[in-house]
């Protein structure tokens, strides 16, 4: 079964962080339409700081632990704890593993999603990051027996579709929920950043499969 090595994942996580930082303006702009316009700033600050502390040869769990620590310890807001739990609980699943196969990857995403749901009170359909994450986890689990490349493709596709679906939703959670119908017609910033992260992660894993 194809898999990728746990060690040496730091470079990949730093690349994910770099993509988040590059999208700072875009994420803040989306957030500004129905939220308070700081999503890109907070995400870029957290991921940027974490990237400085992650070494290229760190394991995936060590990299995720650093990221979670910065998000939970230095960023705050709503996204700090939500993404903090996401990375912290994903890291727990792969800790101690030499190699990570498709089944472990799916279990890792599942644990991250559970972590997000445990700390927040949102669910898929609320116009939030779970709208990208929940279908991505389902796609990973459903395709786990088809091999790792198929899983990565399915995750990227499901996350993008989930993100796009938030455009037509009315926000039920967070500051945008106070807008009611006025929140319709705009992508959710959390679902957009979640899709960015999952896609960048999949793109980083693919060339390391063996």
């Amino acid at each position: 079964m194809t898999s990728f090595p746990n060690t040496g994942s730091g470079a990949m996580v730093r690349k994910v962080a770099q993509i988040v930082v590059e999208n700072r303006g875009y994420l803040s702009e989306i957030d500004g339409k129905i939220g308070d316009g700081d999503h890109g700033n907070n995400m870029a600050k957290g991921f940027g700081r974490a990237a400085e502390r992650i070494a290229d040869d760190d394991t995936l769990d060590a990299s995720f632990a650093i990221l979670a620590d910065v998000l939970m310890g230095e960023i705050g807001g709503s996204m700090g704890p939500l993404y903090g739990m996401f990375f912290s609980d994903m890291g727990d699943v792969v800790a101690g593993k030499d190699r990570i196969d498709a089944l472990t990857f799916a279990a890792m995403l599942d644990a991250g999603c559970e972590g997000v749901m445990a700390i927040g009170s949102a669910k898929a359909g609320d116009k939030c990051l779970l709208d990208a994450l929940v279908p991505a986890v389902a796609a990973a689990k459903a395709n786990a027996s088809l091999g790792f490349p198929a899983v990565l493709d399915a995750v990227r596709k499901a996350a993008a579709e989930g993100r796009d679906a938030t455009k037509d939703m009315v926000a039920k959670i967070g500051r945008a929920s106070r807008l009611g119908e006025r929140s319709r017609g705009v992508l959710d910033a959390g679902a957009t950043s979640c899709c960015l992260i999952l896609t960048a992660l999949a793109d980083g894993i693919e060339p390391r499969l063996g």
Binding site: S28, G76, G80, R178, R182
Partner: protein
């Protein structure tokens, strides 16, 4: 943007630094976390610790209520953004004297999550934590759904009462129950006349057209229930009071504590214009004002507008509101 700052990313650190310098007679910065401000009495005595926290940009809230017989420790967040779980945890640690800690905060998604995480971490360290979530903002959800209402300036009266109760030596459960009773007896309503701007964004994230006002606006510009023409102050005062009285069970013969706060850019004299009408109108209904606080108590950067908060008093709440307390934001010297 006519604002005073250096790098927008540094505003909160510089605010905290300046605050701690200016009010060193009352507060100090935590050694363990630069986003935690402590009263000099924090962690001392045989009493329950009082903790709160929230986003910055609401000064004097939240740091301004750290003081004597008031809040022991405050976790400080970015502008309009919840403090981290670690900041709340450090505030809890610092405030614990072994009798447990009451975290009294406002109902916002980020604060709920970070306080929940901090409480779990504190529990693992053997610190007993109870929370009370303020939800005094009438227009943010219907009464039947009070759990969804936001916390606004009523939090100040909740801190005052909770801290006074703690000072009596009451146990954690009693402090929690009394703070809960305080917020249950409190209603607030905000009106906005002009929006506010986060310096990093350089432009307001919402609009209030000149000549209009937004009734029921939230402390971060969350939309209210109606946008109407801006009316004379007495009409605005009457409208705010009506929203509160329609939601509250205040009757003739009752006594109230009233807090009228500016949102940042409204001249203080205009707050007194509103207050004069409010107390007279309450008097017309046979409701007495036992104690009033009028000024900039809970702001929203440079938003223009005001929040009216009314707490229905009983004998115990009255006694706790009257207990002397000192902080940079609120000082009570003697019985009202």
């Amino acid at each position: 943007m006519q604002r005073l700052f250096n790098n927008p990313d540094d505003i909160v650190d510089e605010t905290v630094a300046g605050f701690v310098r200016a009010h060193r007679d009352l507060v100090r910065l935590s050694d363990a976390n630069p986003r935690v401000v402590l009263s000099h009495a924090c962690g001392t005595g045989d009493r329950v610790g009082i903790v709160t926290g929230g986003g910055s940009g609401h000064e004097p809230a939240f740091v301004g209520y750290v003081g004597e017989t008031l809040v022991d420790a405050v976790a400080v967040g970015e502008l309009f953004s919840s403090p981290t779980a670690k900041a709340f945890l450090e505030a809890i640690r610092a405030a614990d004297t072994g009798k447990g800690v009451a975290v009294l905060y406002g109902n916002y998604a980020g604060d709920n999550m970070n306080v929940k995480m901090a409480s779990r971490m504190a529990a693992k360290e053997g610190i007993e934590v109870r929370t009370v979530v303020a939800n005094d903002d009438v227009c943010s959800a219907p009464m039947a759904d009070r759990g969804r209402r936001r916390g606004v300036a009523g939090e100040i009266l909740m801190w005052k009462v909770g801290a006074a109760k703690a000072a009596t030596g009451a146990a954690l459960d009693e402090v929690q129950a009394t703070a809960q009773r305080a917020i249950d007896a409190t209603r607030s309503v905000g009106i906005g006349l002009a929006p506010c701007t986060l310096p990093a964004n350089a432009k307001p994230n919402f609009e209030i057209a000149p000549g209009t006002m937004e009734i029921g606006i939230g402390h971060h510009g969350e939309p209210g229930t109606a946008v109407t023409d801006l009316k004379p102050a007495n009409d605005v005062a009457d409208e705010m009071l009506k929203i509160i009285l329609d939601d509250h069970d205040l009757a003739s013969g009752d006594e109230a504590c009233v807090l009228l706060s500016g949102l940042g850019a409204t001249p203080i004299c205009e707050l007194y214009v509103l207050y004069d009408r409010i107390e007279r109108e309450l008097g017309e209904r046979g409701i007495g004002v036992h104690r009033a606080f009028v000024g900039n108590y809970f702001t929203s950067l440079e938003m223009m507008g005001a929040t009216l908060t009314v707490m229905k008093l009983d004998d115990e709440l009255k006694e706790l509101i009257d207990m002397p307390a000192a902080s940079s934001g609120l000082t009570v010297r003697s019985a009202g």
